[in-house]
Symmetry: C2
Subunit: 232 residues, 2 copies
């Protein structure tokens, strides 16, 4: 049947990506809005037949953020029967004046591979893709209702980020190259959604032997200047 498949892509398989950034105060993620539909969604896409999953996701992240080689983790498959929503896909295609017949394959069942990415907020210039008219940062507590099961994907990504990721990976990817101990602490407070004790945090981080101390940062404030650190 015409359009029931696309020769370029592996059928029934997609990826979605929760792209985390830290603006100095709160943890944020990138969310797309599809033109004239009111639908919000995670950045995602399909895997070409001659492409590894990893390549596909890196390419998708680069298209939306301009960043290459970001930290990416593939954390779970979402494969229930109920998750696909052919009616929503049809509306998105219609709103973009795409030929429904030709794009019929997009209304099939999709099993998606959930990823999250950690990126340096300052480096990003978010760009919408060809089906969406906006892409923007949303604080983790202000994420709107997303399409299909994308809210579940966000929740699970955050859970994995909280539980399974090393201090070094978090700090290296969400902060600039040099940072103060306070900034590092604020990243963890934003991720864990709880205040941490300053002295314990500092002692713990220094004992992990993953930090290198550099010059002081003079912010022009009337108090002792903090050291800058980088990861070893």
């Amino acid at each position: 049947m015409k359009g029931s498949e696309n020769a370029n892509f592996i059928p029934n398989l997609s990826y979605d990506c929760v792209i985390f950034g830290f603006n100095g105060k709160t943890l944020k993620i990138l969310i797309l809005e599809y033109q004239n539909t009111g639908f919000f969604a995670l950045p995602g896409g399909f895997i070409k037949k001659n492409q590894s999953l990893k390549e596909a996701v890196h390419q998708g992240v680069e298209e939306r953020t301009g960043l290459k080689n970001v930290f990416l983790d593939q954390f779970q498959i979402f494969a229930s029967l109920e998750r696909s929503d052919p009616f929503a896909m049809r509306r998105i295609l219609e709103a973009n004046n795409k030929n429904i017949e030709e794009n019929n394959w997009m209304m099939n069942r999709f099993i998606t591979v959930g990823h999250y990415a950690l990126i340096n907020y300052e480096d990003v210039d978010p760009k919408p893709d060809h089906l969406s008219d906006s892409i923007g940062w949303y604080a983790i507590e202000d994420v709107p209702r997303l399409m299909m099961d994308h809210n579940d994907i966000v929740d699970k990504a955050l859970e994995v980020l909280r539980n399974n990721i090393s201090e070094k990976i978090i700090g290296m990817n969400l902060l600039p190259q040099k940072f103060t101990m306070k900034q590092l602490q604020q990243v963890f407070e934003a991720i864990l959604d709880q205040k941490l004790r300053r002295t314990s945090f500092q002692r713990k981080m220094l004992s992990l032997d993953i930090l290198e101390r550099h010059e002081k940062l003079f912010e022009g404030k009337a108090h002792k200047a903090p050291y800058l650190y980088s990861f070893t």
Copy 2:
């Protein structure tokens, strides 16, 4: 093209499962041998178009072990371009006198979802499937060379089991309902591949508040009888 797809299954997607069992001494996994090929592989299969991934894997585990509702965790996708091996698939089909044309789809590229299962060794009566002539338990240190990237899947499953799983889940699923503290310790020693101190282990487990103490177990040995425990 005839046989390039199978109408029942989602194309290009499979699952594989590392089924862990504990025989009282060592940690073992179930491995299949395909008829007349010398190929060893993990139990795995395909996902029907009207079936969730979870259902598919549970069904596959049940067919090989007779066990329903076992603990299952879907821990990673394996999606590189190099992982598929159409020549090996062809040999397996030939050795089983299967029609190559009709089963052409099995020689496509497959992305597989790696799972592991924890089961009670005593409850299992392993059964080969229609393409394999043997299925058996192999101690984790004696796993033979497996097809494709299945050894990588085993290694990763063990890594996840070691790092990310709670005491309760491990004990509940790998041991009988009632067990002694020594048995519990042996499970952990087998998984971690290291000896643990008896007294520290006992104190730790009791402090976790996940155990209920029952009657003593009289084994007929000339020493103090241990208590039996179950998980709360």
